[in-house]
């Protein structure tokens, strides 16, 4: 996409339009936040804090990568937060149940991970089939399944908390807290998935088809794109990624309850849009989403760095910054 070489003759067109603010907007916002943070607290750029923020971004980050595909294809998924809670709950139940047979070590954990991925797959399939086969608006389907998953986890936990067997937790813990070469596992997994996502979005037919479907479903259908299949794949991919996020989340807290993953869906969608993906579909970029997630998590981190007038106002400041971050990428839409 870099060289402006065009067909045969030199194009008269003046450089590509609006690659400017729209592209660098989120990056500028991110840099501005980092600068503010560094000025406010010398520990902000410390290894520990950076690791904390990145690792914590991983859950929503991994989900938001999947969400980027769904939104690019003109869809939406409100159920991801509840889905994460539901998967975490079932995963814990599965692992606890396996302790007597498989012991408290890695076999149990691996089985739990497999279960998480399988449940994520199934949950994504459930949403996707209702949307593509029963042709119900994605908003309604996933609003419904949000309620369903949330209820189910509350019910599984009997209104309380599902706790992972204590010995299993000790073995599993390093998956969140340790890493390799000083980089925590969640960060590695997040970045790997983001990189993969970016490649899939830009360098595979699937990514292109998502954009085409989001841009104009009819056109995509007429161009031999398997619209329903691609969309379904998007929701399933998202489900599996929620499973992956859960795999990283459970070792952090070792438990799941009805308050797990509350509002993750809004955060994930916000990250996607802050990153420059269009809510109505047709255009998506995964790297933007990564930046969006980082922006959201940095705001929270920075708010903890300082003493505000009142913690009640945190939400207001967060809101203002989210809007400001996007103002940076606003385009002067002359024609449109």
């Amino acid at each position: 996409m870099t060289d402006a070489t065009t067909a045969g003759t030199a194009a008269v067109k003046t450089g590509r339009p609006s690659l400017d603010l729209h592209v660098i907007g989120p990056i500028v916002a991110l840099l501005a936040l980092i600068l503010i943070g560094a000025l406010m607290n010398p520990n902000f750029l410390s290894y520990g804090n950076v690791t904390n923020v990145l690792a914590r971004s991983a859950f929503i980050g991994i989900i938001a990568v999947g969400m980027t595909f769904v939104i690019t294809a003109g869809g939406l998924d409100l159920s991801v937060g509840s889905m994460a809670a539901f998967i975490a709950g079932l995963m814990i139940i599965v692992m606890n149940a396996l302790v007597p047979t498989l012991g408290t070590g890695w076999p149990t954990i691996l089985a739990g991970m497999a279960a998480a991925l399988a449940i994520g797959f199934a949950a994504g399939l459930f949403n996707g089939l209702l949307i593509t086969q029963a042709r119900i608006e994605a908003f309604i389907v996933t609003l419904g399944s949000m309620g369903i998953f949330r209820s189910l986890v509350t019910w599984l936990a009997d209104g309380g908390t599902l706790s992972l067997n204590f010995s299993v937790r000790e073995v599993y813990r390093p998956v969140y807290y340790d890493g390799i070469f000083g980089i925590a596992w969640p960060i590695i997994v997040f970045l790997a998935i983001a990189a993969l996502g970016e490649i899939v979005m830009r360098h595979t037919a699937f990514g292109r088809h998502c954009a085409a479907i989001g841009s104009n479903e009819q056109v995509a259908r007429y161009s031999a794109v398997h619209v329903d299949r691609a969309r379904l794949a998007g929701y399933v991919l998202l489900g599996v990624l929620v499973g992956v996020a859960t795999i990283m989340y459970v070792p952090r807290l070792g438990s799941a309850s009805s308050s797990t993953g509350v509002l993750w869906e809004l955060e994930a969608i916000a990250a996607v849009i802050i990153g420059g993906t269009v809510l109505k579909g047709g255009f998506g970029r995964v790297w933007g989403t990564v930046i969006g997630v980082l922006i959201l998590n940095l705001i929270e981190n920075i708010l903890n760095l300082t003493d505000l007038v009142s913690p009640y106002l945190n939400g207001a400041i967060q809101g203002v910054i989210i809007i400001l971050a996007v103002v940076l990428q606003r385009q002067k839409k002359a024609t449109r």
């Binding site: 520990g48 914590r56 859950f59 936990a157 070792g254 308050s259 760095l305």
Partner: protein
């Protein structure tokens, strides 16, 4: 003496009691910062357990806290992270909800959730010796709510009091209003309501009022909201008593933790603040008209 930083991590004010608790936490912080210039406080409120863990991580990584006062959103998920704070040699005060592992905290200040349910249940027993029909509003589905309701049910065992229905009112006035309206449509005879929280009691009372069935039943809330205590004090027939669960316990915990850094007073240990029945006789001593809750 050296400067010390105390981190305070509490759940956000998503319902009335938590709101009161937030108020007391902030008031305590403001007061102590004034009195003891050598103390620095970091106050963070969290809307879910994951966020609370993040807050604690941030306090450790960037604010270099010397002590942590935490009211865990939920016991289980916070156990590991708080344990790590303790292991880093910081002072840990746990408030209200105990951690899942014994012996992590230096100081424990808590209310008594099973006691809260038990005291309420015992009052019902005493007030309805011949049994009766009641409905129950539950809070947000959490361990706390489970403990309270279990203890309540246990206290009623064999009393002849029948629980017609239980629904979640989520410690929320509007939800409680809706649930109570529907209870009133559903059950032609209700002798009493355990609203289990004063915010929910507000909604419940309004619904009963609207249905014009004020003479038929009375309501027991809980947690000691000032308006409710006032009505107990005034001998309101519909609100005969209340049960304490003081949101101000967070202030006590913060103060006791602060003492550790400004004096040599021994402050470690366990302080359980029992739930007490507030009756018209003793209501005066629980009435604080200036508190927001």
């Amino acid at each position: 003496q050296d400067k010390a930083t105390i981190g305070v991590s509490i759940p956000a004010a998503t319902h009335g009691w938590a709101g009161g608790m937030n108020y007391h936490a902030q008031a305590a912080v403001n007061r102590l910062e004034e009195v003891y210039p050598q103390l620095d406080f970091v106050l963070a409120t969290a809307s879910d357990p994951g966020k609370q863990v993040s807050d604690i991580e941030d306090m450790m990584a960037t604010r270099n806290i010397d002590a942590l006062v935490v009211l865990p959103f939920e016991s289980d998920p916070l156990t590991g992270p708080v344990k790590r704070v303790a292991e880093a040699g910081k002072w840990v005060t746990v408030v209200d909800r105990g951690l899942s592992e014994e012996g992590i905290e230096d100081l424990y200040v808590a209310g008594d959730n099973p006691g809260f349910g038990r005291v309420a249940g015992e009052y019902f027993r005493q007030r309805m010796p011949d049994g009766g029909k009641i409905v129950v509003l539950r809070g947000i589905p959490t361990t706390i709510d489970n403990e309270r309701v279990e203890a309540f049910q246990k206290a009623l065992e064999g009393s002849g009091i029948e629980i017609l229905g239980m629904e979640h009112g989520n410690w929320n006035r509007d939800d409680a209003f809706t649930v109570m309206q529907d209870f009133l449509s559903k059950y032609p005879e209700i002798n009493a309501v355990w609203a289990s929280d004063d915010d929910m009691a507000v909604g419940v009372l309004e619904a009963i009022n609207q249905a014009g069935r004020t003479d038929e039943m009375w309501v027991l809330g809980g947690a000691g909201m000032k308006e409710m205590i006032k009505r107990v004090m005034d001998g309101d027939k519909m609100i005969p008593v209340n049960v304490t669960y003081p949101p101000a316990m967070i202030a006590s915990a913060i103060e006791m933790t602060a003492l550790k850094f400004v004096s040599n007073a021994p402050v470690s240990g366990r302080f359980i603040i029992g739930s007490v029945l507030i009756t018209p006789e003793n209501a005066e001593s629980y009435y604080f008209p200036d508190s927001p809750f």
